[in-house]
Symmetry: C2
Amino acid sequence: MNHFKPVALEHASRLVNHGPTVLVTSAHGGRRNVMAAAWSMPVEFTPPRIALVIDKKTWTRELVAASGAFGICLPGAALVDLTYAVGSASGRSVDKFAHHGIVAKPGPRLGMPVLETGCAAWLECRLLPEPHTEDAYDTCFGEVVAAAADARIFAGGHWRFGDDNTELQTIHHIGAGNFVRAGGILRAAPA
Amino acid sequence: MNHFKPVALEHASRLVNHGPTVLVTSAHGGRRNVMAAAWSMPVEFTPPRIALVIDKKTWTRELVAASGAFGICLPGAALVDLTYAVGSASGRSVDKFAHHGIVAKPGPRLGMPVLETGCAAWLECRLLPEPHTEDAYDTCFGEVVAAAADARIFAGGHWRFGDDNTELQTIHHIGAGNFVRAGGILRAAPA
């Protein structure tokens, strides 16, 4: 059973507020790719905008430049091996979706590949061209135009991390294939 | 006992690779400030460079523009309340260090306030002026010129999250004063 539900755009930046490692998807001219990226962040809630580092040497970067779009998927803890694997090899000469048996569907607005099985959420983004920062810092900006999340862990605009959804909890790369899992809610005293 | 040890600059970006919520410190002309920021990411390992969103309406932004520098401190789980508190009020009319009893010392290279008690690490950064992205996306770039970490959780260039250092584990804001704690190492299969 698929538990994915649309996320309102005004809540989309919350999906990456806590710094998860993500999968970046891309597609153009019949080719597609997926890579892992630890370096992303929101830059605005409304409109929902994010920044993402994509090395200029990568195949993903070529596809994103050509299509003006990219997808972001948040792998849950169950996808640690897959995340590391797609982050360790180029898709220039192999379709990583086929190679790893990844099921993806086209996103609703831009047709970017989005993953749901094992993922907590996805976002479809339109590239906001910024030639200088793309060149100087490999930093690409994008505006989220569609988003969805597994309602078992993100619903009503809020994350719900609990003991019943550990497999969907986001992962955060600390290097060399080691990840920490986000979990264990800490509630601050009212400010 | 203080367990902070210098971190080699080639390892500095690893400190924020996993998306922790941070404290941003600033100082200029006898004034100083500290605020919380969930939106930061590395953009380069060598030289170590990061991007950080600082709203242009904030006092921090004024101080950073004036001094050309900022500090980044990583609060551990024990500092959840303080992190939320300094992220919820402006320092324009109050010294938040004094108000909250925060002990800070000047960083070794730029004199930015750095916190050690309760923190996992800190980085001192020189602003890389980028007027367009600062204006359009509130996104500031910086180069790390000094860094240090509590050796009980980051040593030899690597994070060591374990059951013995939960109070130092990084926190990741999911909204409205709720944080998830990074912990629970997941090791990916060799790629």
